[in-house]
């Protein structure tokens, strides 16, 4: 039914859909594209031509938005979001005083939001990278400039370690809570 040019038209459309699904993992994209290929082929058969079928299909960006709502973000976006958390964590070193506390609270909010929108794995990764980065920066400060940055008392050290360790926990828990909430909801109509 479909000649090479018809196949090329289908693949061109599917290529645009794939491109629009920017944040999804490639495995998820492959599955979706396969399913849409099957759909388009059937639609073309029903309509008598690929052109007619393509006219009925939705805009690739609209299709991609629907799937992004279901799957959240893939590894590429996860890396960018984790990098965002890491950069933010550099402003949470205690030597910055009051600002560090404010940014730390922002960082927690960031990890929770990432977890809610991107899932618990990405939220956890974001918190973990941020926690490690802030601990590494403080350790580097003490090691390289021991005269400027004095080693704090045990209580402050424990508080700092706790503040870092709880970042990945917050990142995982928010997404987990959302997942449980969604699973526990009855079927809506």
């Amino acid at each position: 039914m479909t000649g090479p040019s018809a196949d090329a038209q289908i693949e061109a459309y599917l290529g645009r859909v794939r491109k629009a699904m920017l944040g999804l993992s490639s495995g998820t994209k492959d599955g979706i594209i396969g399913e849409l290929r099957e759909h388009l082929t059937e639609l073309a058969r029903e309509n008598g031509s690929v052109e007619a079928a393509l006219q009925q299909m939705e805009q690739p960006s609209k299709l991609a938005r629907g799937f992004a709502d279901v799957y959240g973000y893939g590894p590429g976006f996860a890396a960018v979001l984790a990098a965002g958390g890491t950069v933010l964590s550099l402003l949470t070193v205690p030597s910055l005083g009051g600002l560090s506390v404010l940014v730390l609270l922002l960082l927690y909010a960031y990890c929770v939001l990432v977890s809610l929108y991107g899932g618990k794995k990405i939220g956890g990764l974001c918190g973990l990278s941020a926690g490690i980065a802030r601990a590494a920066l403080v350790a580097a400060q003490w090691y390289m400039q021991p005269g400027v940055f004095a080693v704090p008392e045990t209580g402050a050290l424990v508080l700092f370690a706790l503040g870092s360790a709880l970042l990945p926990v917050a990142g995982v828990l928010a997404g987990e809570a959302k997942q449980r909430y969604i699973k526990g909801r009855p079927l809506e109509f």
């Binding site: 939705e58 299709l63 799937f67 009855p186 079927l187 109509f189």
Partner: protein, 113 residues
């Protein structure tokens, strides 16, 4: 005239129910479901792929459906969806709720005549 947005909202609320109901008699793939829902509703529900497929994937994530790729006689791979036991229970509960809802709305509408 009826606001099309309102009609869309009303339809949106019943799509998942229709999708799952089409799977009660056995496995189906997306295109088949669109046609069946369109035919049974006499064209009232004409689902677009951007509505159906994300809804199917979401229902699968929630454990109400599972999917399997099957290659048909013509050699074309198709992704079939099947209702899980959990899905059947959820559908039964949603159906009962739907009956209560439509009955209640009808009573209120009739009283207003």
């Amino acid at each position: 005239m009826l606001n099309p947005e309102w009609t869309a909202e009303l339809k949106k609320g019943s799509i998942q129910l229709c999708i799952m109901a089409t799977l009660l008699k056995g496995r189906k793939y997306g295109f088949q479901m669109i046609k069946e829902i369109r035919d049974l509703s006499k064209g009232y529900f004409d689902l677009k792929e951007g509505t159906l497929y994300p809804a199917l994937h979401r229902l699968e994530q929630r454990g109400y459906l599972r999917s399997e790729w099957v290659t048909d006689e013509g050699g074309t791979p198709k992704k079939y969806y099947v209702l899980t036991d959990e899905g059947r229970k959820a559908l039964a509960a949603a159906r009962a709720e739907w009956d209560r809802l439509t009955r209640a709305v009808r009573i209120v509408l009739e009283a207003g005549r």
